[in-house]
């Protein structure tokens, strides 16, 4: 029970450090701390590659010097001297930081306890069980069809605690568990190698279905055999949940982040109340979703969680906020401070996340309201179009420009999904695509920070090889 002991002693030391900072010349202070144990089995090239177990506990302090100057320091050295010194370091750095007039931390509130975030079974999972699940993923994929190769995969069980304390009275802790199974595969047939296809489950419970994940990957891979080249055209594109969860999600987040609105970097700056998308698009951010993968009772700076409507039938209703951005824009805090934002930028990759990072604004579970149609039904009225299940290439920050390679895409003709596409690109401004959404699927899927369905978009430019 080493981890529980670490959590308790870390909590005691962090409380002492906050008391010390309270007595010093800081106006506000905050500590975010976690203790986690992660068991992971990785798969490479049809085999179990390795088994890992990682224990990690640490704390990040934010100290605010007079005139709202903020400093951050963190450590994972679990002794009182190191933790008090880290608190002081944050305070020293704060003194030389810039003034940030609108900086704020949340006041104490009573968070609603979100259900389904902890499953004691995950804490008890043995390494043998995790290996078995990984093996079942591989078998399910490769036994389904001999042409399929399980290339890489993961089985992850994580359990731990997350806590926030600040000098305004916030003092919350929450125990949680997470499980992820992932499998990526490709196929080989007569010298032809397909691109990779992947499926996964992000859950809070130990009820995993590796057979389903394996079979899904195999089916995706087989569907990519015998691709045909494509000629450039402009027409209907159906973006599958995976494509929506990556490029389209990222452009939405970019436009919805409160800090981007303040910096006027958001394409939706000053558009609250205006139509920014087709009537078919409704987006919420639901941090209190039962069993939601990124649900939480309080955000990573201690604001109570909520369900926020962001876009309602195409009309922009709200942005995503933390305490500081809400204060700057005189809006209410939506509880979107996150230390696990998974940013693509170098800085967050280098620092790491959790206690190692100051919070960013990020969705919890960004939900696009699903429709009533299957993908096949969405394709029914399309004379000529494309189904894009996944594409590769980062969207351009700010502008919403996506020019992406079609990594798993199918040609649609006369209302039917015909054949896989050999190579090609899709290019356009995601914000324009949102305005021409003509249908949403009923195939919603849970991703790390999103639950999204297929979207059918008109007038999309597709580039052939």
């Amino acid at each position: 029970m080493g981890l529980e002991k670490d959590w308790i002693s870390l909590g005691n030391m962090v409380h002492k450090a906050i008391k010390m900072l309270e007595k010093s010349n800081v106006t506000l202070a905050e500590a975010f701390f976690t203790s986690t144990r992660t068991i992971e089995v990785t798969i490479r090239n049809s085999e179990i590659f390795t088994q890992n177990m990682v224990d990690d506990s640490g704390v990040g302090f934010r100290a605010v010097a007079p005139r709202n100057k903020v400093g951050f320091a963190c450590t994972n050295t679990l002794n009182e001297k190191a933790i008090l010194e880290t608190g002081e370091k944050a305070s020293d750095i704060a003194k030389v930081s810039s003034e940030t007039p609108n900086f704020a931390l949340p006041e104490a509130s009573k968070p609603l306890k979100v259900k389904g975030l902890y499953d004691p079974k995950i804490k008890e999972v043995t390494i043998e069980e995790a290996v078995d699940i990984a093996k079942r993923e591989i078998t399910a994929a490769e036994d389904f069809d001999k042409r399929v190769i399980a290339k890489d995969g993961r089985v992850v069980f994580q359990s731990g605690w997350r806590g926030v304390i600040n000098t305004l009275g916030v003092d919350f802790g929450e125990q949680e568990t997470k499980a992820v199974i992932y499998l990526g595969g490709s196929g080989k047939q007569n010298g032809e190698v397909t691109g990779s296809c992947s499926d996964f489950m992000f859950t809070r419970t130990a009820d995993l279905n590796p057979e389903k994940v394996g079979k899904n990957v195999a089916e995706m891979v087989i569907a990519l055999f015998n691709p045909k080249p494509l000629k450039s055209f402009e027409g209907t594109a159906i973006f599958g949940p995976e494509a929506v969860s990556y490029q389209i999600f990222n452009t939405l987040v970019d436009a919805l982040k409160g800090e981007n609105v303040i910096a006027r970097r958001s394409a939706w700056t000053q558009k609250t109340g205006e139509m920014v998308a087709s009537e078919n698009l409704t987006i919420t951010d639901n941090a209190i979703l039962e069993k939601g993968f990124d649900s939480r009772s309080f955000d990573d700076e201690g604001c109570s969680s909520q369900n926020t409507t962001l876009v309602k039938k195409g009309k922009l209703e709200s942005f995503l906020h933390n305490a500081a951005s809400a204060n700057a824009l005189k809006s209410s805090n939506t509880g979107n401070a996150s230390r696990f934002s998974g940013g693509l930028d170098m800085t967050s990759s280098i620092i790491g996340n959790g206690y190692r990072a100051k919070p960013e604004i990020y969705p919890s579970n960004l939900i696009i309201q699903p429709g009533n149609e299957t993908k096949e039904e969405l394709a029914k009225e399309t004379a000529k179009g494309i189904l894009i299940e996944s594409m590769a290439g980062f969207p351009q920050a700010g502008s919403g420009m996506i020019s992406a390679q079609l990594s798993r895409a199918f040609f649609i003709q006369n209302g039917e999904i015909q054949y896989p596409i050999k190579s090609g690109m899709v290019s356009g401004i995601a914000f324009d695509w949102l305005k021409t959404i003509s249908g949403t699927g009923k195939d919603s899927k849970q991703f790390m920070n999103a639950v999204v369905p297929s979207l059918r978009v008109e007038e999309v430019k597709v580039i052939g090889a």
């Binding site: 890992n52 691109g195 990072a357």
Partner: protein, 464 residues
Amino acid sequence: MEIFDSLERCLQSKAVDQANLVQLRGQKRAMIVCTVKNGIVEQFAHVSLSGIGIRVFVDNKSWGFSSANRIDSDSIELSLKNAVKLAKASSKLKKQKIILQPTKKSIADVSTRVKKPLQDLSVEEIAKIPLEAYEGTKEAESKVADSEATFISIEDNKYFLNSEGSRIHQNLTRVMLFVNVLAKSNSLLCPASENLGYAGGLELFDKDSPYSLGKKVAEKAVKLLDAKAPPSGKFRVVIHPTLCATLLHEAIGHPLEADLAMAGGGFGNQMGEKVSSELVTIYDDGQVQGGLGYFPYDDEGVESKRTYLIKNGVLKSFMHDKTSAALSGVSPTGNAHAWDYSVEPLIRQTNIGIEAGDYSLEEMIEDVKEGLFLEGTFGGQADVNADFTFGFQSAKWIRSGELTEELRGANVAGNAIEVFKTIDAVNKEVVLRPGACGKFQFAVQGRVVPAIRCEIMVGGMGGT
């Protein structure tokens, strides 16, 4: 070196006898991050991390890895026992025996060459570095909607011990400066960015000052506001080293990593065959002084060296760790790297390079009737079959051998193996570029790159 002593004691544990090989890693890492957004110190962070990562190989079949952020003897021994248990958990399932080649015993203490140590600066002076870059961006202020400059320093003390008698201490210092600028005019947004990165000290800024970097990026972003959108389709292109670095890393580098190659990647079974234009010679070298991928030893204790991957277009070697080397019947190449103590080493590039060719940049452009000159990178990704996509920041039309209109950025895509066969000119000058990679875990790397000329698919939105 208290970590060394604790790790050494751990090697006396009985659990060691159950393993074919034990690799013990300890690390202390101190990072400073200072981000200035639009003139305001938006983030100033001090990150102090320490921990151990223990990897064991058992039954000539299976690896296990266990890590903790405690460095006392008891915790280390517990992690070792866990690692053995983890490794045993899958060894029964594995059919294939792997006989790892013994690692050459190394007793070493190495450091990055640092001329101007970071420790000489106060926190105020550190903050001045990105602030100075911001001052540079103000030169083009009226249309700069947003600017961000981030200074990062990483100081690592890495300790490596194995059951074969090696004992290696590496003190590695890295400094980086990233500048991102967004220019805006009406609804048009144009981003531009540039990074400096170096294994060493603050002498990084002797050649390019933070101010000049800020100015250069801001001017670029503003200039792009008046540029047209790039066209779409297949073009003959001259690729500037900034973009060539991404192409090399993503499109060719990844398929040359043995783990990806063994997964049925693009270069699969073509050892000794011609896989690229004969003008192309590619290597990986962890000993490039100053390169962000400067690692004298890898995280399996293998000394790094220059490995020729493709020589005059012929496939010579993949990048290997001990496991892939054993499976392929070759020696490891020093490419096993872990981002930090908490993750296991994987096959990674260090400083990947293309050897210089014979062409001047003028000559490369002169021969192009209609094509594009592509510059700057927004990063990208590649699949095992060598399909890739990545972004360029700006371009110019080449018409009748001359650079003409300026164009904005977009993405390029294609299959690397196809694209590299079309290379018909390599520049005679190479530059050392900073790079990063996110294959399963993060890594900082270097790239040594010339400009190249080839054919590539461009996904722009403009016309000709």
